[in-house]
Amino acid sequence: MKEKGWKDIPIGGLILEPGNAKNYKTGSWRTFKPVRDEEKCTHCLLCWIYCPDSSIIVEDGKIKNIDYEHCKGCGICSVQCPVDAIKMVEEVKEE
Amino acid sequence: MDRMIEIRWHGRGGQGAKTAALILAEAALKEGKYVQAFPEYGPERMGAPMQSFTRISEVPIKLHSHITNPSAVVVLDSTLLDMVDVTEGLPEEGIILVNTSRTSPQVREKLNFNRGKVYTVDATSISLSALERNLPNIPMLGALIKATNLLKIETAVISIKEKMGKKFASRIIEGNVEALKRAYEEVKGE
């Protein structure tokens, strides 16, 4: 992304676009990624509560998937999971 | 009136020297003059010797320095004569007005002051009879107006009523006006 000059940005460091942190993809920060075992998961939503990056996507009270564009791979979900349904798996680098 | 008159008030903290300096300026303002009034601020408290100042002018006042050569000096408390050089900076034709039961020749002798004019008035007695308290500032204002002919006594009465009206009961304001007028009548000097 090309950064803008001083004439083209809001004054005072204001951010006028709400929730634009979403545009900042932090998924590339991961070395390990969480992988959820659908069989074991009880949908207790503890991972959703603990995830610091809102990367556990929930629909109708059930975990749908993980937002890998923003998940930084911190592993908190995996530690918190009471039924050991989330494993941290090393990212495989594409050669 | 000269282009500008400068007055120095000597009093003790609590005697109303600042208020007198302000009321005089407000009254002069009412008569269309330009004015400045300010106290000297330091660590003074009740009873400590202090000074305040009034400038009155026919033209806008640009000066913002202290007053060192006053045209007139008012001493609210005669015990200050032993402590402060109240004649300091007074020019040849300067006026000094002292709250005392003594006569002006006696004050001249005490101050070793042979220039200008010396006026005296017993503002403390006037205040004690009119207000039952020693608040010499307003009677001294009345005496100063007589001695200098700076403005009409009626204008000072209006300013006193305005200034004190918000804070004091009418009995106190009337007492002050009475004291102002009595001192205006009783002041003597040469």
Binding site: E3, L16 | E26, F38, L63, H64, S65
Partner: protein, 393 residues
Amino acid sequence: MARVVGLTGDEVAAEAIRQINPDVIAAYPITPQTEIVQRLSQFVADGLISAEMVRVESEHSAMSACVGASASGARAMTATSANGLALMWEIVYIAASLRLPIVMPVVNRALSGPINIHCDHSDSMGARDSGWIQLYSENCQEIYDNLIQAVVIAENKEVLLPVMVTLDGFVLSHAMERVEILEDEEVKNFVGEYKNPHSLLDLNNPVTYGPLDLYDYYFEHKRQQVEAMEKALRVIQGVGKQFAKISGRSYGLIEEYRLEDAELVVIALGSTAGTIKEAVDELREEGVKAGLLKIRCFRPFPGREINEALKKVEAVAILDRSASFGAEGGPVFLEVRSSLFEKTERIPIINYIYGLGGRDIKVEEIKGVYQTLQRIARTKRVEKRVDYLGVRE
């Protein structure tokens, strides 16, 4: 129709603020500013203004509350002096950086220590790089006029910067002078209504104030602040002219007093400018071509106007009411001298530090400065670049 009244500098500042009627006042009392806050509290208690008075526990909180209020779309004001300004320092910079048009009287007082409550400019001069516009007042009338204009300057869309209106502690703050007060309605119409285009309380257009701003954008935001200051020069002049329409008193960035044909010029700001005028008048009667250049607006610095005004001058003395320790002179001197550097013909220029901690300055002392200038104009030699006026050896 204007009313003529006798008010002290503090009282007239409070009167201006009453008429401006800000939405929020957050202030903490400090000598010699105390009477401003005291009177404002009284106005609020008496229902004379609708402002929300926030009784904060410190100046740091006062400015913080103003920042919050201003960002929320309120017109916010405070007032302070010396150590109070020092305590709010962190937020003083933030107010300017967030481009919040807060207006604040600063009652100039020596910044300790040893502790002193009297006038010098060490407090506001210390804040000269904080991003605030600074207007200095010569007398009680100017305090009033500057405060009303400050609101319009600060809120101008091209500017959006906070403004300090300074007044000399005690010399003006506690001196009663003749002042012309405008009608409430006239002031109300002149200042108009403050509309923050990015209010924190506008739920339909959410905005973030004060995010982390690192080396990728911080510099650009500072560049914007520089630009706003630059634009303020013209806006301040425009507002000064507009103000003349309702008051009959016109204001510029500088004031030229008998400068037209002046050969010897003193430059100063604040209440001393008045005392210098008195000295100039006396010297003119003696046939000396003396003049005064009063700097009303120190930030942004009116370098071009000063250069223009000093075209035919033979010698200049600059009076500084604060010392810049370790520098080659006081802050006004450094600024003016730097500004005159490009002139093809160099004007001899000297600096006097004076009046620290409230030390009185007299007409005679100022006349002495003009005498020194006369000597310099004659000999073309400056013996002492920086000197001290009124200090005991």
